[in-house]
């Protein structure tokens, strides 16, 4: 798919409250830039992310969805991100199986200290999504703004 110069993807980043949201705060504190396309939704833990939320985002017009949580072993709730990891792995695999582009979803572990990683991750993810182009395979035409 040709890279569309004017394509401004919508990217939803679900961030766990304890590590990744704080990591995102830190990248703000350090004035590390990443595209404004990325909008963060705070959830208590990566294990709060229901696959339905990801599908919902695609339905409503998101072009990419990323989940950020504490590194394995560092979960504030000890085990949440382990469950999240299994759930996301299977969901992504199922989406891939159904022919949805692999790059549209991602999981990244970002600690509260990794402001730079957060920004870098968002930059990279946005780039990937721009390369993939608009989400067509999981869109809902009724949600398109005319």
């Amino acid at each position: 798919m040709p890279v569309n110069e004017t394509f401004k993807p919508t990217i939803v980043a679900f961030c766990c409250n304890w590590c990744s949201y704080a990591g995102a705060d830190l990248s703000g504190t350090n004035r590390l830039q990443y595209p404004a396309n990325v909008k963060i939704i705070r959830i208590p833990c990566s294990c709060r992310l229901n696959p339905m939320f990801i599908l919902r985002a695609f339905q409503r017009g998101a072009d990419g969805v990323i989940l950020c949580g504490c590194h394995p072993g560092d979960c504030h709730y000890t085990t949440g991100n382990y469950y999240a990891r299994r759930r996301m792995t299977l969901l992504f695999s199922l989406l891939d199986y159904m022919g949805i582009e692999r790059g549209r979803t991602r999981v990244e572990w970002v600690s509260a200290a990794e402001g730079a990683k957060f920004a870098a991750t968002m930059n990279d993810f946005t780039e990937t999504i721009i390369k993939l182009g608009p989400n067509r395979r999981l869109e809902d035409l009724r949600c398109k703004t005319e």
């Binding site: 009724r142 949600c143 703004t145 005319e146």
Partner: protein
């Protein structure tokens, strides 16, 4: 009678499709369905489609109207799809009869303009049956599968398709096809229809007793006991016409659409304070009472079934109108 070579059916389709959209029963992902004809698409070998022909007049989902809301203001905007003239080819006699039943609901006052629109734009070309399935029982409902109604009736016999217009619309269609030939249709052979296992079903009994007698029949408990409460019978049924109206808030626009609904579903009559049909028995009974008793009561004895046999083939637990009708008649399941 007009004729066309069966081996050149494709060019007949092309000729029809040149002027308007044409739907034919074709295999889509292994499932026979009325499909928009495009060059190369050929007829299914199956007797009939999995979903009935009602879809073309009463689609599963249909947008009604759109709204835009800003603050406390509401703006109503058109949301219905424009309908163009179209032709359905290959409708069997049973499905064709179902249009009469649907008409009696949708075209009665107040007219459902969405349905009416599609009906008026459609030309129905039926196709006579010669190789029924064992589940066919349209003959029990007074339908002659070898003499289907519709705007144009067709017979595929030997190597020829015979076409006969029954209505002005049909006439207009046939006269728009100057390529058609002329010929005499040979006698049809009805012998296989006399061998159908369900040919002797008796639906006349349902008019002979008061509604409440049927309603209170002891058979409902055991008939309904294994019903899954799914909607497969409803949705493949050519005469089921219940629908739901819902809103979808897509952000900028709120779309009000209607979609098929099933009286078999537990939430069909669910209200804030409960439902008047709390168990599957009541919901099951409603569906069959409606087809066998309520609808005929309101429509000059016309049974709400056309004997297409789809529910016999599709029900996950093999419960169907034939079993129900027989059990009701005998008073035991």
């Amino acid at each position: 009678m007009k004729t066309w070579k069966l081996s050149e059916l494709d060019s007949l389709f092309a000729a029809i499709a040149a002027a308007q959209k044409l739907y034919i029963p074709a295999d889509a992902a292994g499932q026979p369905a009325f499909t928009l004809w495009t060059p190369g698409l050929s007829m299914t070998k199956a007797l009939n489609t999995g979903r009935s022909a009602k879809d073309l007049f009463f689609p599963q989902v249909e947008n009604l109207v759109n709204f835009k809301v800003s603050g406390r203001r509401i703006q109503v905007e058109p949301g219905r799809e424009e309908v163009e003239d179209f032709v359905i080819f290959g409708v069997r006699a049973c499905d064709c009869r179902s249009f009469d039943i649907l008409d009696s609901v949708f075209l009665s006052d107040p007219v459902d303009t969405f349905y009416a629109d599609r009906r008026s734009h459609a030309t129905v070309m039926t196709l006579a049956c010669s190789e029924p399935e064992e589940t066919c029982f349209c003959t029990s409902l007074g339908i002659d599968p070898q003499a289907p109604a519709g705007d144009v009736s067709c017979w595929a016999m030997e190597d020829t398709l015979y076409l006969e217009a029954n209505t002005e619309k049909g006439q207009a269609l046939l006269s728009s096809l100057p390529q058609l030939g002329q010929g005499e249709k040979p006698q049809t052979d009805a012998s296989v229809f006399h061998r159908l296992p369900l040919k002797d079903l008796d639906f006349s009994v349902f008019g002979e007793k008061p509604l409440m007698d049927w309603f209170n029949s002891p058979v409902w408990d055991s008939l309904s006991q294994s019903c899954l409460g799914c909607g497969s019978c409803t949705f493949v049924c050519p005469t089921c016409q219940c629908y739901d109206v819902e809103d979808f808030d897509g952000g900028a626009t709120i779309r009000r659409f209607r979609c098929w609904d099933s009286c078999m579903y537990s939430d069909f009559t669910m209200m804030a304070h409960g439902t008047n049909r709390p168990t599957q028995k009541e919901r099951f009974r409603q569906r069959f009472m409606h087809k066998l008793v309520y609808h005929p009561n309101n429509h000059a004895g016309q049974i709400g079934c056309v004997g297409c046999g789809r529910c016999l083939q599709k029900c996950p637990i093999s419960m169907n109108i034939v079993k129900v009708a027989k059990a009701l008649k005998e008073g035991k399941a």
